[in-house]
Symmetry: D2
Subunit: 453 residues, 4 copies
């Protein structure tokens, strides 16, 4: 019984295997409909309301296309018995993601990768029951692919490497829903040149430029979308809000037991899988809306700011040159203005390594991208692509200091801001035209959706 999903990114996603179909129908997988793929980014890019459900379907779809193609074209190099395993791992690779995972994990010691494993291997989940029907050890096998421990590197690399089904889907999907044009690359061609080799996967030489384009697209999506200052402002707010609630819970648990019951096990640091699965974006927002009326003025203020999108403002600083102690001058001014700097200032750093070759001595060595030459030899990508060579091993991103918008009206504060960046000592005065005056305003007001203010 074939099922078909209309997908704006891949047109139609077809499911023919009943195992996949049953996995999609489980409570744990349907739950992904209630968790946004990009967390707070939808506050910046209003189209980006798409969910992890749609992303996971998309990763499955790409994995299915690759495994079908491998089975047909590479009978010696690829074992079709691993098709279903690969597809299940693709579908389930993110099933442990929770509400606002990244922020949440930092505060409550949860780990979405561990949750993914548990959802797959715990005998209490519907997903486990479906997988067990395939074979008793099938859940463990699926989990081992996701945790990189499965012995066949081909399968592992299709799910997780520097160019895998996961990234291919999210770049296209996030570009589509945010409206960014940067995430486009030639998926069709990449899926034509991918080949299984003895030690993993590689790409034919005729596809080198498509792979280059994929890496540049990925780089641009990080710079333009994922690291957007406004989304990070909302993340800082969220982090402060939850941190304040955690403190208040200790003082007065009853309020939270009544108004935010599903969070209590996390405040108590004894949450289990069941507790984890009860949280989603809607539940969290419902609690934040309740907290808008909490007697603690910091909690209610931060909750209101989050729900109604009152952004903290920010400036960049060079983390190699500016120490936390230098930013104290700003924090002090914030405090002098009546805000608790613990909750009303914050640092948010976002850095990415667009591509790297294999460095065995590295802490987390990367699986490099290999290009298959016509004569059968394999070459590491950056060795033949000058464009990629320039991005290899380099770190991109920035650190930002967040603070209340009203501080911009304080000249002692704003004198430390030049070109959206922190300066310890202000010296130079640049002549301004009237045009530049309005430019200056651009700094003061965070523009919704402005790429990289």
């Amino acid at each position: 019984m074939e099922k078909v999903f209309r997908d704006p990114v891949h047109d139609y996603i077809t499911v023919t295997d009943s195992v996949i179909s049953e996995l999609i129908d489980t409570a744990e997988f349907q739950r992904l409909r209630r968790i946004k793929q990009l967390g707070t980014s939808s506050f910046t890019f209003h189209g980006a309301e798409h969910t992890r459900f749609s992303h996971c379907l998309g990763v499955y779809h790409i994995a299915r296309r690759i495994t079908d193609y491998f089975s047909l074209t590479f009978p010696l190099e690829w074992n079709p018995d691993e098709n279903l395993l690969t597809q299940c791992a693709a579908l389930l690779h993110d099933v442990g993601h929770g509400a606002y995972s990244h922020t949440f994990e930092g505060l409550f010691d949860t780990d979405h990768e561990a949750m993914t494993r548990e959802i797959i291997t715990s005998s209490y989940t519907e997903i486990n029951a479906v997988l067990r029907k395939v074979a008793p050890d099938f859940p463990e096998k699926v989990a081992s692919v996701i945790s990189h421990k499965y012995p066949n590197p081909q399968v592992v690399q299709l799910i997780s490497s520097q160019i895998d089904a996961d990234r291919m889907d999210y770049l296209l999907r996030d570009a589509y829903f945010t409206g960014a044009v940067y995430g486009q690359f030639d998926l069709t061609w990449i899926l034509r040149v991918i080949v299984p080799t003895e030690n993993g996967i590689a790409f034919k030489y005729s596809g080198m430029h498509a792979v280059e384009d994929y890496i540049v697209s990925r780089y641009q999506m990080y710079m333009q979308v994922y690291f957007h200052a406004a989304s990070r402002s909302m993340e800082v707010l969220l982090q402060k809000l939850l941190a304040r609630a955690k403190v208040l819970y200790i003082q007065n648990p009853d309020y939270f037991v009544l108004n935010s019951p599903c969070l209590v096990p996390f405040f108590e640091q004894k949450a289990n899988l069941q507790n984890y699965l009860r949280l989603d974006d809607g539940v969290m927002n419902t609690y934040f809306q309740a907290w808008m009326n909490h007697p603690d003025s910091i909690l209610s203020d931060l909750a209101t700011a989050y729900i109604n999108r009152h952004l903290l403002k920010s400036i960049k600083f060079d983390r190699d040159k500016v120490g936390a102690e230098q930013l104290t001058v700003l924090a002090d001014l914030v405090e002098a203005a009546g805000f608790d700097p613990e909750y009303y200032t914050g640092i948010h750093s976002n850095y990415d390594l667009p591509y790297d070759f294999y460095r065995p001595s590295s802490e987390r060595p990367r699986t490099e991208i290999k290009i298959l030459q016509n004569n059968g030899s394999l070459t590491e990508l950056s060795a033949i692509s000058p464009l990629i060579k320039s991005l290899t091993g380099t770190i991109h991103g920035n650190s930002r200091f967040y603070f209340p918008k009203i501080m911009l009206e304080n000249p002692d504060f704003s004198k430390h801001i030049v070109n959206d960046s922190f300066v310890a000592e202000v010296t130079t005065t640049t002549k301004k035209t009237s045009e530049q005056d309005s430019q200056q305003l651009l700094l003061d007001e965070t523009i919704n959706n402005e790429p990289l203010v």
Copy 2:
């Protein structure tokens, strides 16, 4: 201070007027981020998670393009003083929509149009405060445009008529996010041929085919997307779930006071604006998730079905030929199988009139679409378009009977189903090939996203 929004449908949406910018930043408008544009359709089309926030911005954008163009091109026919009014009405036309509005309104006597008016005119809202700064009577004026009472029909028709900024945006937007290809039409050309006339708006003859295409696109979106059987299944579930909760509230209010506080004023039938604004999709879903553990087996079962997307199945029936009494045979079988037919069967009818000319004697006469000929005369669209003539005044859609999926295994039940439709008496046997056998399966299983199963 210009603001720019990255919009996947319109590329960039620019806001230059600070009134618009402040309206967007109000709590009531930001709340629209938490309400999906298409309600339960996202259960069928997983991309359709877009919110009323994005739609309202889009309607504003189209209205701004039209009013800017009118101001520049038609100094005699259009009054630029009405630009801001038109844009505010466009932005706010849906601000009173609530969570799952259509289902909710039927059960709790709320009315999103009345709410829209109240949000605009009540002195307690942030939106009202922004509008009042323009002029004391400005909120009333904006409200009167939305309720069709504003004296200038040009302004009213731009916001609400058979071809208005609202519809133009939602067709393009819903097509984009569902992935349906049918909602496309040539917006750019339509915005080139629109003209203000003495009694409203019209379209130059050279744009007639673009207007035709818009109407056909709209028709197709209704047939393919808005009336999809699976989305309606979720609406039936939702309606039954809320109806059951309403009954249980009377028996035991305490449970709901504790677990679903924001719904209580609605159960009590004394909700005010403040209560209304507290509800959104996330709050409702949070309550449903709580109800999954309610002791009443019907409530918990329906809540579980809704949250985990266990669809009711359905068949079409001809409401002109099949009376409710004839469907009793099915309802009786459902009851015999152990389901309360009050909560486990339901009828859902969806009908649309794609286009009509002005019929003064009609209950809700429509503003017809007028085509401006080269010599200045105005002609009603269907009088010169054979394509539209064929759709004029005709009603399209169907009625469906919903029931538990397991009933399909009962031969006494399934014998009443032929080609997805109810038959009272079964007589004919059609020869089937093996292909048709799998076709038959297509009926039995509702395919996720299958256009019009």
Copy 3:
């Protein structure tokens, strides 16, 4: 050895069968690179420079997708031995098209369908040699599919019916290259619901709306693109130009033997296949450019007008009400202005029947579109689609009278024009606003690319 073509419409077109690959490499097929798909339409839509080569590749691609799908899915209903035959017929269905075929055929008694057959079956062509290698009777089989005589209606209907691979490609392709948005339809879905039946092909019920959309798209492309008044103006010029040359050839063949050698066999009415294959758009235009210096002022003037795009202007007339004798009044005024009406006026009629069911008594009965219901029964499309019913059996289009642009300055002439249409007697005067004055100008000047002026 696989070949891949980058195609803007279908992304990649893959050729795996060496027969197809060799056919593409023949001189007769490569010649299609020099013949535009839409003839004079590129004078109106400057993007529409695409060639018959690209269209033929596209038709092959769609045919290959369908035959691959049929072979896999319908082992009982479809015979995979006909895959190559179907694909060859698809690729070659238009191979006999010549330069400006439609105009040329009317004047020189050529017939592109007969030429297609001859190119395929004549033992002198490279195409025939490739096909003969498959089997001695293979060329005849391919030709019989194209001429509807092949016994298996499935194969014939895939190549030529009211919804076939030819039309599916040209709608998408012409829409893409003209930039018209109207030619879009859901090809992917149509290719999912197509089924081979005993007497041809049909479409599953779940694809009915996609088929509807295809027919409406086709209708709109006819109205908006194929029947555009400016393109037809260029066709009239071309027809007059060639007619004048034909007359002058009789008076003085030497000039043409020297300056337009490849046309001589056609002037002499004794052209053979070799002569036909020597003509293409570039050759014809080269001759026209030479004729710009011919001593005959009509020939040189028409050649100059054609090459430099000096359009004749036109008005619509109702061929049921306005006889040729009534248009004489206009022709007389043209003559009085010093133009030979034989060459400077012309009538161009374009009519289309968007869809029809099978009418056995009709001269050219059409193969109707059949919808396969879930119970295996077949229903004719218009019987279940109100949208299509309205278009069934109806004729759309218009007749236009063409004349020199300067005539519009003559009030005796222009008084016969109201709303772009001919009126025999002028009576009414409509009040005009200043806006309408510029509207009036719209009539007088044919706007380049204005859809359907």
Copy 4:
């Protein structure tokens, strides 16, 4: 009187100024309809039949958008009196391009830039007559913008710099018509951040990533489309064909006077503007088709190869390491096989410098791209973009040696080919799997449209 052009790249192109409208209607501009934008690339990418006419319209459109925006937004920095000048220069910047310009110029000492100037300034052209009506010195002004001599660098840089209206249009247009995905960039955003400065144009900091993306897109279009080996094969053929004709003309001019009259002035090296304007792609191809029957077997063979697309094959070589003398070994083998190496082998080098900063000592110093910081300071792009820094000043491309396809069957010849590259001495043997065997075939057969074989 507004004119509108339907453009697949820019949707609609609007012309309101009658000067622009009259320029488009001139014979010299209409002639651009008969010259392909990408020359022989259409033999590789069959969609790329678009003409210089469409490109020139597109450049005008971008220039108009920029000048309209500058006039409105930068009243102090931009002089609206230069709008028309800028738009005319944009429209006409390529008007002197001829048939297969680049190849033709090398052989016949013509120069399309000089021709552009002459068409604009010669009192014999229709274009000059239109421009003269604006002001007597207007033609000279337009020509001076195109030749970089106009005093205002803002105007010059909009038409010609490392990011100008010309390049912006051709990247988008060539991407659209070839079907390559690599040419996409965010034109809308770039046109939002462009600013006129004292010494030219700059881009606001908030647009830096869009500018980066433009440069990477340009780089990729060069690597993937413009430098494609198959298109260059056709260029080599064309060059050899014309060279052979030139030699034969000296031996026997009469044949060419009769069969290719418009080329004679070029063979005689005394062509004037009138002669130049008579040539276009169609005229050239018509002559080549005639030459297919020329008694000289080399000329007829090359003409046949060109018309029927019989490609020469090629291999890369490193021009820094491989001298022409080393390639002699291949040329000798070609000669031994019976081919005149003068006409059947050739070297084709394509190199590009994606971006460079201003180097005053360079022969042709480039106008660098400037980024406008919030405080009004200007920074050169590569100084703040690591991505662009990596491309700055680096040369990309390759040199290829072309030869008859049959040579690949000669083992003495093919042993010099490894991974599509020339090796002087063959030493290594790489183990091959069966997959690599078919990979090897990929080298031997040039795949039509295969990106960068």
